[in-house]
Symmetry: C2
Subunit: 120 residues, 2 copies
Amino acid sequence: MSNVKALPLLETVVEPCCPPLTERPLTADEAERTAVMFKALGDPVRLRLFSAVASHEGGEACVCDISDVGVSQPTVSHHLKKLKEAGLLSSERRGTWVYYRVEPAVLAAMGQLLTKASAA
Amino acid sequence: MSNVKALPLLETVVEPCCPPLTERPLTADEAERTAVMFKALGDPVRLRLFSAVASHEGGEACVCDISDVGVSQPTVSHHLKKLKEAGLLSSERRGTWVYYRVEPAVLAAMGQLLTKASAA
């Protein structure tokens, strides 16, 4: 953990999984993977930051763009990192700032989970 | 808390709120209300139980129907109660058992949140 190197920013690959929740019970494995994403959005500040990034011009934002949620910039950075770890955001460093972008496929997959299956 | 009476089972009313997350940043209030629902699904066991209820025949289930997720029946009951408190399930007592049912409007509203807005 203390062995910090200049790692490239990893793109966390979270495979969107699973049919709509109304179709069949999730397996333990599916639930493990999917709960991570719901949990990441289960914090009010993180949810606001996520919607701030998602709705920002061009579909991306850096910490410098979204500082009006009433928490400090380090806290914003911390939450954005959490959202990235959950696979909801990807990031790219440009100069001083890291820009975050919503992963549309993941968002779509989560939306899909919550839609009603055609038949139970 | 110890004053247990035969209360009617309350239907928790959670107003589905908010436009798609990609449309505009959520307000603090919207985020507070919505994060509760995501948080409820942010636990693997709860998520499995939720999908078990959602996909069960007739769209409802009691604890007696869904005991194959590897946790005790009291734990199942506890999680179902949490899902109800978050507004994701409603419940009705029939004889010995409490039957849980997915709130379709809430599910649809959450799905809506995660869909892509037509324009940012």
